[in-house]
Amino acid sequence: MPRRNDINTILIIGSGPIIIGQACEFDYSGTQACKSLKEEGYRVVLINSNPATIMTDPMMADAVYLKPLTTRSIKEICAIENVDAVLPTMGGQTALNLARDLHHAGFWEKNNIKIIGVDIDAIDITEDRQQFRDLMERIDVGQCRSFVAKSLLDAKEIVLKLGGFPLIIRPSFTMGGMGGGIIWNEEQFERKVLRGLELSPIHEILLEESIIGWKEFELELLRDDHDNVVIICGIENFDPMGVHTGDSVTVAPAQTLTDKQFQLLRDAAIRMMRSIGTFAGGCNVQFAMEPGTDRLVAIEINPRVSRSSALASKATGYPIAKVASKLAVGYTLDELKNQITGTTSACFEPAIDYVVVKVPRFNFEKFPGVDEELGTQMKAVGEVMAIGRNFAEALNKAWQGMEIGRAGLGADGYEVLDRKHVRERLLKPYWDRSLQIRNAFKLGASIEEIHDVTYVDPWFLQQIRYMVSIENRLEGQTLESLGRDELFEAKQAGFSDKQIAWLLSQSATPVTEDQVREKRKSMGMLPSFKLVDTCAAEFPAQTPYYYSAYEGENESEISDRKKIMILGSGPNRIGQGIEFDYSCTHAVLAAKEMGYETIMVNCNPETVSTDFDVADKLYFEPVFWERVLDIFEHEKPEGVILQVGGQTALKLAKHFQRSGIRIFGTSYDMMDLAEDRGKFSELLVQCDIPFPRYGIASDVASALEQAEIVGYPVLIRPSYVLGGQGMRIAVKPEELTEYVEDLLKTHPENVFLIDHYLDHAIEVDFDSIHDGETLHVSGIMQHIEPAGVHSGDSTAVLPPYSLSDEVIATMKDYQNRIAKAMHVVGFINVQYAIKDEVVYVLEANPRATRTIPFIAKATGRPESAIGVKVMLGARLSEFDLSSKLKHYAIKEPVFPFDKFPEVKKELGPEMKSTGETIYFMEDFEDEHFRKPYEFKNLYLSR
């Protein structure tokens, strides 16, 4: 069936600000949906309150509403836009809930707006435990066994029937699941059962078998109007049941299932999708399987695109959201082409010839006192995906891409091999489980021992043991004795030159990463680049989506065009999120417009920048020096753009400089100067610009000494960090001592700064673009909270709401002087503190900042594109720099404190928010301004 002609205008609901559990994967899916529907000639109307999204760019939809995601906003939009249909499956649970609320209120029906891509009534079933259970029973899909008990005696009998502990207890009809939980053993049994029976108003409990430790799988499905269903990807969780899939290391395809078992999953998944309505679109199904049996239990079904479907898209190359959108408007799968091959059908199930590993990224260090144990509620803030020709390679690569300073899965000098510590870390699920498993093998643990405490499938353990066996063999060697075969095997297993250097240094003279690189290059041992093609090479593919591997054939052919390499921002984390992917994506598009062939390197599967149709060439690789240099040496571009990928890319600047590689835009020396407080202060002195008194320290004693000189309160900060990582305010020497000691643990190589902290000062974020001569003021944002609250955590208003003309003029003057003095070509952000009408410079960032996308959305000016084009040689005079902002735009941060109930809400120089929204207001009577203004001082802590 071809596209539906009874609808013209389609409303897409976005997912709003980035929160834990709902991140930029929905920008990716929303962007794909917009492109896909516009391609078909539909008019697309979009609502999303998140300014840092590509989907809200003017080019993506015919009408974009940057409004709060409320039913009220949607009603208002529908009243204006003559909407025929709504697609609520691209914006996560937020969008689905909004659509459902409006459905129950009869809004869609009353306004004759069709819901496409999902069956709204079916959602109620999927989210109601009992209804879901009943449905699964009807379609013969397994469920956890459970029995109702009305007495302790009943309960005892049930324990026997269910085969012992652990068990899940759920008292009937208690509020918020009170009294529910896990009964681990006999000791807890009576107490918990009696309490449950007491708590339940009808004195009844449900005892359910525990499936903690079972194998966990996910399947991604697509279905069309003809009821054709295909499975796009099967994913196996390395972490068994008990850890949220978003917090689990996951692997595609499933590794430990026989075909018969996989087909059980496939058949059940198809039955499940068919049981929840007849909609055309995407669906995610999660299963648990009892180890050693074929017993299958359905966990949940999500009738929408998800984080997992974004992962599945990147893992297979199959654009799930794009195709799901086409299916939602009436196409059938067999009418669509596989865009990767261009010749075969989209109605198929991708076959992959590599292993994909996803490792989640956490930010616990920002939340002192947080419970780090992983459970059923997601805690990760981002993720890394890695592709290899074997599991070891993919896992090592994932750790290289994590941006936590690691060179792979251990073997890089950071692990302390303490038996007790390792055991403790393995007894419960923690974020570094795969690393601790490696450590356990290093300490001589057996597969059985590790399996007994972690329940991780032995196959994965065998693979990690294999990695450790490579480590052990390298450890006894020297650079000279290391043979070709052994080196090649280590490279095939994903070990970085840095890891190999560390291993060789264990028993002999120290070896550097460069020496290993030199040695392998002298042997001609270079990575090849293989294509992600959805079909395991069965058909030729056109799409330039590559990963590296150490083996024969290199499929990445080099064109003779002029090229540029753009480094992405790695996994999302607090302080470096979607804003940088936004700028990366625009950098690619801008460089394309300037005639360059663009080469994107990134490892974050949730991003738009890693969509195969964004850059001319995509290398899905860790933004890790060795990998980046390998790609650079293969492609030989004119240079690199580092200033859009946040700190990830910037950290590599010195390596590029040392290797003589051209960095576009502001020079390396000046980027380095901006991070070097001493040199930067000299520059400010030369420019006659005031700044807070500061000192430099490297240990507790010097810190205390400096603090006395600059005067308390003081702000402690390490260099080269983003999101204020490790930054604290100390009001007295005792606090300072404590913080410095902490800091030395996490940032051992760093010198750090002791700034005098200007209390009760106003903070301002000033973004601009300088083309070498002229300065373009992108935006000046005044924070509502006082200086000391990280700029990412503050509520900020564009343009300033209470600064005098003199102050603004002074800032503009300073900004100009700094840009000139630093010879900035491209972005320059300066942060100011204003106290008693004196303007102080806090720091300067010659790169695209977190606020650039916000300003772009507020003003309607493509700031990222302008900045990048200037870096590549354009002049500011070539652009239309007029602003469309009529009144004020306010940036409102969103925090994850609800996910960490044990952590109290405090704001300080270390950033804690995960996302932000934009809100347009006319005056200061608006509650979006009044509320934060009223509470502006409340949460400031340290």
């Binding site: 003809h226 009821d227 054709n228 295909v230 499975i231 395809p253 499933a254 590794q255 430990t256 299932l257 026989t258 075909d259 018969k260 996989f262 087909q263 496939r266 058949d267 180890p291 050693g292 049996t293 799968l333 067999d334 010749t343 075969t344 059908s345 109605c347 198929f348 199930e349 991708p350 076959a351 992959i352 010839d353 590599y354 292993v355 020709r389 074997n390 599991f391 499938d457 032995p458 196959w459 065998q462 066996s469 063999r473 095997e489 293989k530 079909c535 395991a536 090479a537 069965e538 058909f539 030729p540 083996e551 024969g552 054939e553 499929e555």
Partner: protein, 369 residues
């Protein structure tokens, strides 16, 4: 097996391409047509599928052996492939239901294999140059000698192999109670085809490939099934003859894979060698009658030439969505239908199992008449 114990092995293609790796399975030399399979699951079912008899099977998914081997996954009594080519072999496995690891299993079945080769490169090579013969060896041969061996290996075209894998004696496989009797010609029948019938209350008598038709009729079947199998159907005159005799009975006939090709040949439709062939578990096939798409298991290097399908003789009932090849025929002048792909799956999706039901429905109707 520890890395130190690994033995070097070589794979040489008849066009001179040579790759080295490490020996798996039986240590020796073996050759055949080098083909690849894109299934990510079900290696054991593939290795024991008689249709692959005489072929070197290269798996595109790198890790093979992860869950060991188990007798419940055998499709025949022995391993049928002539050799195995893998990228990252799993020496260890994880599966408490397994009987052994894959390496031991291959060795016990005297199957030569190689791991650690850039399988993707070889797949691309075959895709460009077409399937060709190859030799795997971990014995003392020079690369040149191995290429020479590959060149001299018997080509698949014109090769009759069904009689080598068929059983020697007829065998009845019957569920506890059965409603119908089907005579199955074993040209290399997969175990799961047999199971697909018995699970539907059909008693099957499986006959050796060259059983005289009269002997089959003595059993008084309600319908005829022509199985999958290896090799080129063109030299199988004996089988086409049987198909023709079966037609005259008017009883329902069903063919899978090689059986499909034989039924086509009997109707004057030509079957030719494909450039690369279809081998995997993800091929989309559209049922032209319902318009619905099935994801199918495929395993064939020969196929029906569409230009020779006379619409008066047969209707093309199923089409491959990727390349438009003929996947199913509905014959007009006799009571039969056939598919090129594998509705019995194993390995692969179960989307097409309805074809067994349709066949049984035909038998029911025929008997009703």
């Amino acid at each position: 097996m520890s890395i130190q114990e690994r033995k070097r092995a070589t794979i040489a293609l008849s066009d001179g391409t040579v790759e080295t790796g490490f020996a798996i399975g039986y240590h020796g030399t073996s050759g055949g047509e080098l083909c690849f399979n894109t299934s990510m699951y079900g290696y054991q079912e593939i290795f024991t599928d008689p249709s692959y008899y005489g072929q070197l099977m290269m798996m595109t998914y790198p890790h093979i052996g992860n869950y060991g081997v188990s007798s419940r996954d055998d499709e025949a009594r022995q391993v049928m492939v002539a050799g195995v080519v893998v990228r990252a072999f799993s020496w260890d496995y994880s599966n408490t239901m397994a009987d052994s690891d894959l390496n031991t299993y291959l060795r016990r079945n005297k199957i030569v294999g190689i791991t650690g080769v850039d399988t993707r490169k070889l797949v691309r090579h075959i895709r460009e140059k077409g399937v060709m013969n190859a030799v795997i060896s971990c014995e003392e041969f020079t690369a040149g000698e191995l290429v020479e061996k590959a060149r001299n290996w018997v080509p698949m075209e014109g090769l009759e192999l069904a009689s080598r894998v068929t059983r020697s004696e007829a065998q009845t496989v019957s569920p506890e109670k059965h409603r119908y009797r089907v005579a199955a010609f074993d040209y290399g029948i997969k175990q799961n085809i047999i199971n697909s019938f018995t699970h539907r209350e059909v008693a099957l008598r499986v006959f050796p490939a060259k059983t005289p038709f009269e002997e089959v009729m003595d059993w008084n079947p309600d319908g005829f099934f022509f199985s999958n199998g290896p090799g080129d159907p063109n030299p199988m005159d004996y089988a086409v003859e049987v198909v023709n005799k079966a037609k005259e009975t008017g009883k329902p006939m069903f063919g899978i894979c090689l059986g499909h090709q034989l039924m086509a040949l009997s109707a004057g439709i030509n079957v030719g060698k494909m450039y690369v062939g279809h081998r995997g578990a993800n091929h989309p096939v559209r049922n032209e009658k319902t318009g619905l798409v099935e994801i199918t298991t495929q395993n064939h290097g020969f196929s029906v030439l569409p230009e020779t399908v006379n619409p008066d003789v047969a209707e093309i009932s199923h089409v491959n969505l990727n390349d438009g090849t003929v996947e199913g025929l509905q014959f007009r002048n006799f009571n039969g239908f056939s598919v090129q792909y594998h509705p019995e799956a194993s390995p692969g999706p179960h989307d097409s199992s309805y074809l067994f039901d349709e066949f049984i429905e035909r038998i029911k109707q025929y008997r009703g008449n």
